[in-house]
Amino acid sequence: MMTSIFIAVAVLTIAAIVFGIILGFAADKFKVEGNPIIDQVEALLPQTQCGQCGYPGCRPYAEAIANGDKVNKCPPGGTATMEKLAELMGVEPEPLNQEAQEAVKKVAYIREDECIGCTKCIQACPVDAILGAGKLMHTVIAKDCTGCDLCVEPCPVDCIDMLPVETTLKNWDWKLNAIPVTLVSESLEDR
């Protein structure tokens, strides 16, 4: 009777030691560098760096999400991003906490003759996409603009517009039924 108890205890102890060693090796061997979830979250975020989530940029928000913050604070990403985040984090999707922006991608445009050269928008731009110097006209590098809206507010003369990105042959979305059927003026056709 006693021996069987001893055997059981011994077996369990040995098993515990063996598994402990295995686990220890596994923890060492398959150690995860950093916190990959943050990178995954960040990869999903739109990188507009707009700060509308309340964090100074997308990376901090990604860290916050990884630490349990809500996934619905990214208006530029829209519902699609929120759903992906919810899926990644294994939480229920929630509606965006701000009014969802229209899906149209926009870029900032400075009405250049109205610009007074105050540089305030330059300081506000999170991606350094505005070019200019004090008392000189500024302009937006359209290809680098993320459409984050942050430059509109600081402008003292309100000369920044957010314009939707123009559709060209390259970014056309092939939605045929969206093509307006326009009548070409006969004069042009007859020439």
Binding site: L176, N177, I179, V181, T182, L183, V184
Partner: protein, 350 residues
């Protein structure tokens, strides 16, 4: 002037869904004719009831789902479902059997899954299985096959039996007015006999097996085979599923027959009795619930064939077509997931 815009291609085949279904129906005609010939006109009444019920149910549910009614009814898919179910059930089953079966097929199996194209299970077979489990007596009393000369089930007689609400006739059919009209199917008889310790030879000596695989059944199956071959020719169906079913059933039953002819019937018996040919060409080939790729379809068919044999031989039910088809339906997404064709320019496996 402005011209009309449409997406390419601007030409297309004229073989549309409605036409495909229509051809299926036309190809069913030889089989139905044979069935009428050997089992009387009960089937005709069942077909009529099933079609009316199916269209009514489909129209109602489409109205409830806010879907276009007219164009959807025109695709003839409800017609095919109703026909298949009506053919599958005993010709003299009471009217409410086919009504329940059809309603279940159309409403539950088809529309609650999202309508044509989205259903997981073959509607006709799911309806059949429901009936088989719920009303085993009504579903296993088949009309005994007659030669044309002896035909005793005419329209008026069938009408009387089917619509007689006091169902004692059916329940006690073996010894009352229609004695000699209804009886178990050959497969059923065989199964009972085998379980009673008789050998296949002894069982097959019974009068019901006067034809090669049971009177009438061989001819009906043969007629369905002809209809199926016409469908293949018309390219209404592709050969993969039918080939899979018949080959697998043949291989399995040959194996069993060679191993022990006393307890296993011949492959011919398997291929030409029960609903084998109907299933192989008309039921399992329902594209909605089958696997999609060519290889997947062969696997899907083989699975049905093997299941038919296994259930017939070892299961509790005499015929197994419906169960085999439903089980294979369940596996279809799985098969599709694992049997993906290799895309052009990709190495195999990717």
């Amino acid at each position: 002037m402005a011209f009309k815009i449409a997406s390419s291609p601007h030409v297309g085949t004229t073989l549309q869904t409605a036409k495909v279904m229509q051809r299926v129906v036309l190809c069913l005609i030889p089989g139905i004719a044979a069935q009428l010939y050997f089992f009387g006109y009960g089937t005709l009444l069942q077909i009529a009831i099933a079609i009316i019920t199916a269209y009514a149910a489909e129209a109602t549910i489409l109205a409830l789902r806010n879907r276009p009614i007219k164009s959807t009814l025109a695709d003839n898919s409800a017609l095919v479902t109703a026909l298949l179910l009506a053919i599958a059930i005993p010709p003299l089953a009471p009217w409410w059997v086919i009504v329940i079966g059809t309603l279940f097929s159309i409403i539950i199996v088809k529309h609650l899954y999202g309508g044509l194209g989205n259903n997981l299970f073959n509607p006709a077979m799911a309806g059949y299985v429901l009936l088989l489990i719920s009303f085993p007596v009504q579903m296993t009393d088949w009309v005994s096959p007659m030669s044309a000369a002896q035909q005793s089930v005419d329209i008026s007689y069938a009408w009387k039996v089917i619509f007689n609400s006091t169902s004692d006739i059916i329940l006690t059919g073996h010894n009352l007015a229609i004695d000699g009209t209804t009886m178990a199917t050959p497969l059923d008889t065989l199964k009972t006999d085998l379980s009673m310790g008789l050998t296949t030879h002894e069982s097959l000596a019974k009068p019901i097996f006067s034809s090669m695989t049971g009177l009438g059944w061989f001819e009906v199956n043969f007629a369905f085979l002809i209809g199926g071959l016409i469908m293949l020719k018309l390219k209404v169906i592709r050969w993969h599923i039918s080939f899979g079913i018949l080959t697998a059933l043949f291989i399995c039953s040959s194996f069993g027959f060679l191993l022990n002819p006393d307890t296993h019937v011949s492959p011919i018996m398997h291929l030409f009795s029960g609903g084998t040919m109907l299933a192989a060409f008309f039921i399992a080939t329902d594209p909605v619930t089958a696997a999609t790729s060519a290889r997947g379809r062969i696997i899907f068919g083989a699975m049905i064939g093997a299941l038919i044999y296994v259930i017939r031989t070892f299961g509790g039910y005499p015929d197994a077509v419906a169960f085999a088809v439903l089980l294979a339906n369940m596996c279809a997404p799985f098969i599709d997931h694992y049997v993906r064709p290799r895309t052009y320019g990709h190495r195999s496996g990717s």
